[in-house]
Symmetry: C2
Subunit: 291 residues, 2 copies
């Protein structure tokens, strides 16, 4: 067993980070903060107009505790208010840049089974933003860890295997370092794009996991290696911590709501007992392709 930690804190994330964590601690911060006007019982219902003001002090702490070569992934989407898309998300990007963050990329999470509904003036919203922020232009990125099987057109290609293709395949294999995930399927694999196709998890009964396991899993693979440190300052029911634990990453999760805190503690306790069972579960479930 590795000397790995899974720490869950209970309380306000800005406060806890300020009091308990040194600068340059985390390799990856990934979180899905409460959206404006939602989860009102949990966070006092931040109003859209006040969202930026509310989030900025937190983002400042996050900037401090992130390592210089680390990455911050922010899952967020603006609400429709009064028939318009509210601007708090894009305002937040501009403000965070003023505070020193680099806005490196915007991934799209395409929610294949988005919430049903019909409105006279808009269609169902089936995507969310995954904003990537960094502290410096040089950050760690392990692209080989998230390669995906190539499209169907490759099947035809593999049959003949021209000389050019052979050369190119060899070159690709040589360049890859560490574990070659692509060998799972024995197929050629390619790098993904910045659009993630992914169904939301229809969870059992109460705790609707709006944050499917695939998301932290994918970004943890992409931006960290084993024994790195992962932070989720709005842990919710503990998804990020559980996934980090499973992937042999150290992690810190912070959650303010007592019920969620309790749940997260339970999900990450007694890891040894559940490990084999859960790992098996993972390997069969996460075959979703990103194309």
């Amino acid at each position: 067993m590795k000397d790995m930690e899974t720490i869950i804190h209970h309380g306000d994330c800005a406060e806890i980070l300020h009091n308990n964590f040194d600068a340059n601690t985390f390799d990856l911060i990934i979180t899905s903060p409460p959206y404006a006007d939602s989860r009102s019982k949990t966070y006092g219902g931040i109003k859209p107009d006040e969202y930026v003001k509310w989030f900025l002090p937190i983002s400042k702490e996050l900037l401090r505790v992130l390592k210089p070569d680390g990455t911050f992934i922010l899952n967020i989407k603006e609400k429709a208010v009064n028939g318009e898309r509210h601007t708090y998300v894009i305002e937040l990007i501009l403000e965070m840049k003023k505070h020193g963050w680099l806005w490196t990329e915007e991934f799209i999470w395409h929610k294949k089974n988005c919430f049903p509904g019909k409105w006279p003036n808009r269609f169902r919203d089936s995507w969310e933003r995954l904003l990537q922020f960094n502290k410096s232009k040089k950050f760690n990125m392990y692209q080989e860890a998230v390669m995906v099987p190539v499209g169907d057109w490759a099947d035809n290609r593999l049959k003949k295997l021209s000389d050019t293709d052979k050369i190119r395949d060899n070159a690709k294999n040589n360049s890859g370092f560490g574990k070659n995930v692509s060998n799972w399927l024995g197929r050629k694999s390619v790098y993904p794009t910045n659009v993630l196709h992914l169904a939301t998890e229809c969870n059992n009964r109460k705790h609707s996991a709006v944050f499917p396991k695939f998301l932290p899993e994918w970004f943890i693979k992409l931006f960290t290696k084993e024994n790195d440190w992962v932070l989720d300052p709005f842990l919710g029911s503990g998804t990020t911590s559980e996934v980090a634990q499973m992937m042999d990453r150290n992690s810190v999760g912070i959650e303010i709501l007592p019920e969620n805190y309790k749940l997260a503690k339970e999900r990450t306790a007694h890891f040894q007992n559940k490990m084999f069972e859960k790992k098996a579960e993972y390997e069969t479930n996460y075959t979703a392709r990103n194309n």
Copy 2:
């Protein structure tokens, strides 16, 4: 033959709109302006830092000529500059709001065949923004015109049909110019979402159609009815005008580059002669599904 107009102007769009068109003329404005730093020979290569300043006067004219219940669809995407995503697009949204536009929605165009490439710090960019702006909260939207068949049912059904039927059905499903799509589909169709999946058209020979026909087609169906007026102030090679003509909408296209202007004129001339031929072409070609 209906009394329908397809007008192509040659010149600067802000100028031409100012001098030639009344306020509240158009039901739909849809365009894909030159992106920052691209098409430098054509448009002088607007620098990212100057993009907002360049576009605002144009957006002011567009606001004027749009009908109160009309819609403006802006296809745009920010560049990566110095390892960061540039902020000119989100700044533009904020500025346009200050000038009176409502930012109603943001559609995602997922480009299935995006440009290849590999970089140490980012993946391939496979999406673009389709920003929806309006003048008022009450705008025309004909949602039934863009309904899509339900996945499994449609797939199974299509397999059993003869080839002739397939072609006919595909045409009905996907383009359906002047046909009652919902009739045939009955209750087996659903409303789309705000994510459009669509490949760019691999163009034959010369004129690059970065703006695939499906895009204007879809939004023209969604936001206009027959005999309405459509404007594309950056017409390019004439895609929007051709599609509008095909769909029995009046249209105005403005293009500054002489070669493109000429091309657009040719594509929309002698409509009667080409009509049947082109309609047939449409019905077999546009089988792309949006799901």
